[in-house]
């Protein structure tokens, strides 16, 4: 795993991470909307701007996560959605398994594009990404901070959440 960039010589603490997350909100919005709109081929709407706060779980029945990390930081991207809404996201697709697969692909594309940006790589370095994983309950991370927001596509609410914290990658789900 390659880790480059002089900023990596010092590890960000909570204050720097919060500052980074606040500055990264517009980039995160662009990455999330672009991924969903390209993969589902439908427009997205943002009922409320994305925000940075302490990490909380989304009120959804299903979550999809892509975890990322290197020797200094661990991060995770979560998509939250209600299983009952899934068919609305892709009405022409009758196979729920394929729609779940699409959600995994969306998470993969958001994580890949957001973590590949120079503005992310400069302070945090290159991170190894996990394949998407699905689950119903998420491990609480009350000490961590995240960018979170909601996008609507075909009337369905998709909860998005990106969290990063110091320390080696561990199981964040």
């Amino acid at each position: 795993m390659m880790e480059n960039g002089s900023a990596l010589e010092t590890r960000f603490g909570e204050t720097e991470i919060i500052r980074f997350l606040r500055d990264a909100v517009p980039d995160f919005e662009v990455c999330t909307r672009r991924a969903i709109e390209c993969i589902l081929a439908i427009p997205t709407f943002m009922p409320k701007g994305f925000a940075v706060s302490r990490h909380t779980d989304s009120p959804t029945t299903f979550k999809c996560a892509v975890q990322a990390g290197n020797s200094r930081y661990s991060a995770a991207l979560y998509l939250g959605f209600n299983q009952a809404d899934l068919k609305e996201l892709s009405p022409e697709e009758s196979d729920i398994g394929i729609i779940m697969d699409i959600m995994g692909e969306i998470a993969n594309v958001i994580a890949g594009s957001f973590l590949g940006r120079k503005s992310f790589q400069a302070p945090f370095g290159d991170m190894h990404l996990s394949p998407p994983r699905f689950f119903q309950e998420r491990k609480a991370e009350p000490e961590s901070w995240s960018i979170h927001g909601i996008l609507k596509a075909n009337g369905v609410r998709i909860f998005l959440d990106f969290m990063i914290k110091p320390g080696q990658k561990d199981d964040l789900t």
């Binding site: 993969n108 594309v109 890949g112 594009s113 590949g116």
Partner: protein, 135 residues
């Protein structure tokens, strides 16, 4: 004669999209698909296709490891990386011998994207042919 392709990606949705794209082009025949890095190496060995596409983030063995293993056994292999991962990983794959890289999301609804994708595939085919002749 159609060129043979093996597609490897852990997303069934994308496997289907890529298969439709390749076969719809009229120039390629998809001979096999796989969903992890171990299958990629095995399928390449079995089919020796004209082209293999690899995702980077996959279970069992990632695309970079599969690329290295395939090229170790078959230096003439034409490998196209199709992945959402960007940054240094792209350069690492190209340095390791991938012939090209296409970044996800794949916008198959966009005519310009489809044309560019086909152009990239054509360039990879000609590059690989040159390599084979040279060797």
């Amino acid at each position: 004669m159609k060129k043979s392709v093996v597609i490897v990606d852990d997303s069934n949705f994308l496997l289907r999209k890529l298969q439709d794209f390749f076969e719809g082009s009229g120039e390629y025949e998809v001979v096999a698909t796989g969903s992890d890095g171990n299958q990629a190496v095995a399928l390449y060995r079995e089919h020796r296709p004209d082209l293999i596409t690899l995702d980077i983030t996959m279970p069992e063995k990632d695309g970079k490891q599969s690329l290295v293993e395939i090229l170790a056994g078959f230096p003439e292999a034409r490998v196209l990386i199709i992945s959402a991962v960007s940054g240094p990983a792209i350069l690492e794959c190209l340095k390791a011998g991938a012939k090209g890289y296409v970044e996800k999301p794949l916008r198959f609804e966009d005519e310009d994207f489809r044309a560019e994708f086909l152009e990239t595939l054509g360039e990879i085919s000609s590059l690989a042919s040159d390599n084979r002749i040279g060797k």
